[in-house]
Symmetry: D3
């Protein structure tokens, strides 16, 4: 049981961290398990609102793959695959936008507002926030040659116009951003949410990029929970990939971190979204939650 | 064929209208046929962008019934009816939000941006724009008594917090607003788009409310196209309803106009959305397009 | 021992209080034991800095009687007494100003700065912050008549010009104010610090006035520590004074609270300055620290 | 006859031009025939007001030679000539200022205001807008030597202080500027209006300089109306002068264009002021009116 | 001879007056002898610039009758008279405007700039500063009846739009205003300069109106220079007019003072423009220069 | 006796100086005899207030050695000396701060306010205005070696954070600054007031630094009052020191001037504080008061 003095002590211990991040922008990629459990959701959004009140500027970029898949099944949409990847045809993209912007984004906005924050939802179409170019996939033909396969409305961000995000921040609101971008002809593209978060963090000149994952962080030995790497320098990453310590789905996340660092973001973090209030613990304490990648 | 001098003449003739509405806010309820034809869409959004560039502040509130119905059919959702009205259960509301915010709103934003305007999408959840109370339907029991039937997540706007709309306007952008509101517990409610447009026009202190419909306006004799009533005073409406001149779906539209006028909007217009550029013709010329309802 | 999750929980529990007082001005009368112990000093100033960082606007008004007495002894200054009160002659006033402004105020400023806040010291002379009228003491002559005795440079605040305090607040600094006021002829007057804090809270439109004392608060029965009155309405005070429950040095403090409440301050608090972080506990938790006097 | 849809079409076709020049400053040298016919005046000022309302910043610099000559005749003032040029003695300069500032400028201001714009007149004396140095004329003596002849109060602009013009623009007004400048001793100098317009356009960082003339533009063959050169690059001008295609009064106008282009003005135009609304046609359409000189 | 200490003393003695009028607007009607002598001109404009530098906001409204008369003679213009008043026909008005705006106003602007101030000239046409209604003269017919005679373009101010004057003041410049106003149809009207100064002082909320005249002020006995009335209350004026103490050209001047006082101007002054620096002596000292009319 | 015209003349002659220093910051080191005589005090503060009203930004840095010495004697404090210098132990520093900030500073503030200015007192602790490093004294041991002697809380300014001074200036107030600085550990250091004034002048980008002294300025021959050097260039100083013309207490003052000049201050002045209004005479006239050191 914590006494009143314990409470005071803990609040006081948060002061150096509050000072450190005062007025700083912090982009959080929100995805994975933290989107599934109601308790974890509450914890994430409460952390956001708390950060906002103590003078930081949190920005959320959310994912949403499982919800899109569920909706596609619900309408009986069959997916085509190329080189192991689902092709995002026009109908799939339409469903993806509906789910991301019309469902997930608005649920987040609603929950933040309910907790007492003020959130505003945005997608990459709004004031041209994210501009994209179409992405192609290299596949191997039966004859063994490489060729570019069209995987539909999947894009890479070519330009970020962050003014609308800044305007929302300055109004005292928390921007909640869906990973959709706009092509040269006005068409929408699905973009990877980690990638969107990294690019937005860079464009905003953020201090910190936090990527919520479903693992504890980067582990030196994945079978040994005590081998979590708390902190690693950007230039040490290549070796770990080569050694296979970093592999699979962790590689693109780490690459987003490296990109963001190269564009001026101060520190990047791969956090365990399954731990309640992991963001708050990362920002307000010096407990080693997850892995920090820094320059 | 128009000569250069004709062109000059027409531009010059627009000047008095441009002066008249300079700096004024104009809320447009966008719905019906104008949402179906690509040419009519282009015309409506071009009118919006033109208005913005010549110093007016257009705001769009869109509808979307047919798209919601289509999506419900697509997922095989059966609707229950009470007193002739579809009950908006949680699943129906979820689909409605996805379609309104994730599909229709973003398509409008994308098209305005493509034409060269700068649009930002909003729903009633964003910064608490529309607050709602649940709406009930009075039904007659088999025994002949009246009772309130629960028709689910259908609401009436209880409060408008228009600051986020104003902020978007001041940034030089065109706000595009979905008719969704937020209840006391954070839940979303479907609201009638005419109603949303009227209430938003009132809250913004707009100069003009324009409701796009699929008819030419209010007709003294619906079988006679030449009987269009160009202009009518608010206090003459009651008699026309009594006489049956105004009936059916026109009644709620006219009521939105009366509400808006009572809250300070200067003039309200019921325009034929099937005529290309009907908004532009209404705003920039003195040609009688549709019916103006004024105090 | 508190775990990481305990820490998170306590921070999260502070959120409603942070929201409640966001952007609000809180005037703290700092005096008594809290000025003597280095640990208590640290705790008080840390609380101030924390409040500032989470969006509140703390203002300190300090006392300093014991230091003045010590300095007078040190220079061998004999005091004259009238009606039991020390007469503040010109020399005494000069010493009082030196000690209050040149010693106590600057020590507070220095310590707040050292903790990481930004403090600026002010006295009532600065930009005419406190204007005073001379105070007289009614004494009884040997013959039994009442007469006004001159007790020197002791004053009551006749006007507060709080603009300089507001300017300091808006610069992100914590104002530290000495209880000295300026008379019509430019001369300085010693003023009671509780009185100064109350009047300043009123002039600033503060949300809260906190008076640090050396008792636990108002006790229903001073021999019974469990009889602390947590909360009392302004209109119940008179009865308690009549009954003798409130007496002695507590009476002027309570009167400052009543004055401040009458001028629009929302709540006033008599806190035990001997408890570390009593201000923080009052502001950030709902633990009953001291006595709240409200309307 | 134009139908409503024609009108809509023409307004819509103006949109790209409105977008292109939104917020841009456009300096118009107003002179020649356009100053004589009441219809042409109306057309020019209406174009100005329309440009202002759709977000551009028009600035007028006017000429006035014929009116000055008329006034000199009226007072029976004999002019002296040196090397074929009228000497502007003190009395002539006084008359010139009266006519330019007290008559022509104020008539323009009055007419713009009457059309619904808001105009403010300025001369080069106001807040030191135009500073001048005295200009000399090289003449050949009877003995065949060259010498500098004093032609009185005729000057070249040595410095532009455009802040007052900018202030007038930012207030939503149209500045109307007389071609008078101030010498080092405070005396006034007559300056060429084309020259004043070009220098002001450069100092304001204008997007466009338009010089109204009494010819159709630069003609490849002046006897053939179809030989109008619509567009020409600055570096092609020298050759045309050498060939005699550009000669006489057109040379100084072309030189003003070259100077303005060299100082950062985007495009310059020599327009036929005898065509009603030639400015509007130039700015709002892509019809070839006159000659554009660009980098 | 003044010593350095004398100089210091005089500067220091100006301090209370500088404090008193800091940030205040002072309208000066400039006319009469002070417009004729170069020394007096220098003195008036130097006073203006000095006032501006020490934080006051002087505004000049100038007259110009003699110059207009001279110009009319120069062009051989015959004047018609009705009821003893010259009829201002269109040609006369044109000359009046040229002389007032193009000659006198610009000379004042030029001289102030030369002394080191920053002046900007304005007439009533600029941004619609003075609106006028036509003035008629009551004349007696040979038959003895009264009738309204048309005296041409002579007007009374019906409305003042002082925003452009305020804008010029806020830019740190001294506005110099010509007594010309604009009628409903855009035509110019000659207005009395005292009247213009009084109305402008009222519209600007000025602290002081100063009218420069060619007499010492109001004299109790015009044959006795020592009978100057230094100060008089508005309600005492009527009696003096009745007694004939105030008569002739002084009456309209006094009426301007009364009007200005009625509209909120604090004090009004009739000063002797023949005394060098009379304005400065009035504003910076308590020497009795001229007559003050106050409420 | 000065006549009204003399007064006008003197005021007018001040105009060029007012123009020259309009909006400029002028730092005045106030010390010596000017602190002792009530008449001289009045004169100095009146000069400050006058400067403020005519648009300059005076800043005062005061000394206070004699008052500190008096107070130390009063409490019977014995001073220790090292190498001829008094050691500023903790108790001495405490007394110094009390006297400087609590007595001298507040007396200045009070007097300026009484004259009609608005003053705010500051010390180097406020918002971290002056940061200091400890200063050591080189002394010679009995054995003839040199060693660093600890002379206590005496410091040199290592950094100036002038934002709080600028904020006070912009509020229309006159900053009055005590020569106390803050060390890395938050402790206070006594700093030389000339040094503080010079560094503050540099940090503020002041136009002028004025040091009040008790001599007439730099004399070529101190026995000959007529040998005052009115003006001297920075690069001529070294020679004068070498020659012994500048020696003793004048050397550190001259060094402050050289430092300030090197940091961008335009001119520096060593004035005779015994002459009433010497500052005013220096600023508002071209009489040779004291010695100007310039680049």
């Amino acid at each position: 049981m914590t006494t009143a003095q314990d409470r005071a002590k803990i609040l006081v211990e948060a002061l150096p961290y509050i000072k450190k991040f005062y007025g700083k922008t912090i982009v959080v990629k929100y995805g994975g398990h933290a989107m599934l459990s109601q308790d974890l959701k509450e914890a994430v959004f409460t952390d956001m609102v708390l950060m906002k009140y103590v003078g930081m500027h949190p920005v959320i970029v959310h994912g949403g793959g499982p919800d899109i898949t569920a909706m596609l099944q619900r309408i009986g949409k069959r997916s085509h695959f190329v080189g192991g990847l689902r092709v995002t045809d026009r109908e799939t993209m339409e469903i993806a936008e509906m789910v991301l912007i019309g469902k997930i984004n608005k649920e987040i906005v609603a929950q933040i507002n309910r907790i007492g924050g003020r959130a505003v939802g945005l997608s990459g179409q709004d004031d041209g926030l994210f501009e994209a170019v179409k992405k192609y996939r290299i596949v191997r033909t039966p004859e063994g040659a490489e060729e570019l396969a069209d995987i539909g409305f999947v894009g890479d961000i070519s330009k970020v116009n962050p003014e609308i995000v800044t305007a929302i921040i300055e109004r005292g609101c928390i921007p909640v951003v869906s990973p959709v971008a706009v092509g040269a002809g006005g068409e929408s593209y699905n973009i990877n949410a980690d990638h969107a978060a990294g690019r937005l963090a860079a464009a905003l000149g953020s201090d910190k990029l936090i990527i919520l994952t479903d693992v504890e962080g980067i582990m030196a030995d994945r079978s040994d929970p005590s081998s979590l790497i708390s902190s690693i320098r950007a230039d040490e990453i290549a070796l770990l990939i080569e050694k296979g310590v970093i592999d699979g789905g962790m590689i693109p996340k780490v690459e987003c971190c490296l990109d963001a660092l190269a564009s001026g973001v101060q520190t990047t973090h791969i956090l365990d979204g399954r731990v309640p209030h992991s963001i708050l613990l990362e920002v307000f304490t010096d407990k080693g939650i997850g892995t920090m990648v820094e320059k």
